[in-house]
Amino acid sequence: MFGIPIGWYLTLSAALFVLGAIGLVLRRNAIVMFMCIEIMLNAVNLTFIAFARYHNDLGGHLFVFMVIAVAAAEAGIGLALIVNVYRHRRSLNVDDINLMQG
Amino acid sequence: MLTDILLILLKIVAVVLLFAMPIGSLMTLLGDRKQSSMIQNRVGPNRARLSIIPGLGRLPLVGIPHFLADGLKMIFKEDAIPDGADRTWHNIVPAMALFPAIVMWAVIPFHDHYCTGEIVVQNYRDICVEGQTRNFFSIANLDAGLLYVFAISGVSVYGAAIAGWASNAKYSLIGGLRSSAQMISYEVSMALSVAGAILIYGTLNLNEMVVQQGHLIGGWLPMWGIVVQPLAFFIFLGAMMAETKRAPFDMPEGESEIVAGYFTEFSSMKFAVIQLSEYVATVFVGALIATIFLGGWQVPYLYGDGFHFGNTPTAALELPYWAVIALRIGAFSFKTIFILWLQFMLRWTLPRFRYDQVMNLGWKIFLPLSLANLVITAFVVAIL
């Protein structure tokens, strides 16, 4: 039944993680950048769950549980920060968020 | 393998096409038109006739032909997409609205698992001896059924939100915003209010919940959710009505302010599908409340082999198994329709809330009440 090697899942999660990181670097829209971070977190969750399955240890699932809670809290604060920046700048483009040099 | 798949398909067809959809669409007629006309002291639909069928040509049939006429009209209307709207999303959105409304039905149990052997009643439960239990009466018997329902109902926000956004119209956008805000707000108290019931029944599996509601407190009072969690029942009913955007919580589609809210710009069958999904969701609310709070398919004192009065091993009034099943499914349907009726009564008697009132009710009344309910329940459960 469980014939798929764990390595496949891990490779998928690595690909997702890198995809998220690339998106974070390439996209300039603050909200889309944040979405890319969510992709990375999901890749991490997949890694945890795959390893939990492999080790037969629920610790991975519980870690994912915490990660999801953290992601929810981060989403709240992050979107609030984005809304706040938008109020000042009228733009979501991070290239416009450059009051400070460097 | 193949028979299993066929069985599941059959169950899906039965639940969706024979139960949810017909009741849902009939409600458009009986609930929204006929019942409202009765409450408002007017005649209501009575002109459409089925004149092509001999013998029925002259009868108004409580307005049922209107329903068919409506359908015909919807199909033949022009499908208008406003200028500047996102065409792709505008076309996809009705499906996005209908999908969760239908998928949610997967975990509703219409009856206990079918028992191929003999049924012995013990401590208010049917116990299947010398046979297997087969899951014939719910599409999927998930362990985390209730969580599944919450998950899907959370997803149902997208239909309304994207519909409002994709229309490129102010009223639609406001409607979409309102609907997503309202649904997020009420999801919290919805889940919290039912947490007390989860504590008491100790399970998230809906069928197991219903089985446990067959217990009789003191030998006579059925341990239905409404009995042990009366406050949660009202909060849950209110939150679910808000979740499905029914009046008096129908801010997202308040016609006196924003025409029809997020589906202002939808017409023809797309409109019909969105409307239908709302009605199916309304029926689902009835089914879910019946399952959690009104004993689901339980008929009081009726167990697998007949009526028992008290915790007795033998039935006081024996019934064949098929009759029990029929009674129970009938009871479940009745309860569902009763809650539906209640929702329509509320809709036509209460005035619509203001938007801030809706939010205040959700966050300042429902949420603390459901929290208090949960805490008290936890204490009581811990003591008992």
């Binding site: 014939g3 798929i4 090697p5 764990i6 390595g7 496949w8 899942y9 891990l10 490779t11 690595a14 690909a15 890198v18 995809l19 998106g23 390439l26 889309v32 979405m35 890319c36 999901n42 969750n45 997949l46 769950i49 795959a50 939990a52 399955r53 629920l58 699932h61 519980l62 994912v64 549980f65 915490m66 999801i68 809670a69 953290v70 929810a72 809290a73 989403a75 709240g76 604060i77 979107l79 609030a80 809304v83 706040n84 979501l92 | 999303w89 362990d143 985390a144 599944y148 998950a151 959370g154 997803v155 926000v157 939100a161 409002g164 956004w165 956008l173 997503s180 805000a181 649904m183 997020i184």
Partner: protein
């Protein structure tokens, strides 16, 4: 065999939708693509017998977090004129090259790990692995400390979000 097909479908779905998040011009499209990607991942979780986590994934990620994203996008009402111009392709090239390099680094170490023995899933798994009950049990026994801390975390998140996004004091 059926499992492999499911895996390929879900994996391609997750990857494709995630890529669509990056490519989509309109943030709302990105958000919906991300939701689809989450659904695919939930499917993969079920394949890894993490049913509870799959449900939580839908419940929290798709049902709450992404709704918040879409809500904010609608609130700010980003229209076409604010959609970003494409970036310099040389940046894209460098980023994609670097990303591919990192990916292969990770993939190589994964390959080294899974290649050394036939790393398939554990075979002595209990039936209830990954369902609600054992996870709930753990949450209120061994993991009660992080569980309580998560409560504080969510409180901090709420307070912080209100403080930052409130229009006036």
């Amino acid at each position: 065999m059926a499992e492999t097909i499911f895996f390929i479908v879900f994996a391609l779905g997750a990857l494709g939708f995630s890529a669509a998040v990056l490519i989509a011009k309109n943030p709302i499209n990105s958000a919906v693509m991300l939701v689809c990607s989450f659904f695919c991942l939930a499917g993969i979780y079920v394949m890894l017998s993490a049913t509870f986590m799959a449900v939580i994934q839908i419940l929290v990620y798709a049902g709450a977090i992404m709704v918040l994203f879409i809500f904010v996008l609608m609130l700010l009402n980003i229209r076409d004129d604010e959609i970003e111009a494409p970036r310099l392709s040389i940046h894209q090239g460098i980023a994609i090259l670097a990303g591919t390099g990192i990916f292969f680094t990770i993939a190589l170490s994964i390959a080294a790990w899974s290649g050394s023995s036939s790393r398939v899933a554990h075979d002595t798994m209990s039936d209830t692995f990954g369902t609600v009950e054992p996870i709930g049990d753990q949450l209120i026994t061994s993991y009660v400390l992080p569980f309580e801390m998560a409560a504080i975390l969510l409180l901090v998140g709420i307070v912080g979000a209100v403080v930052v996004a409130k229009k006036r004091f």
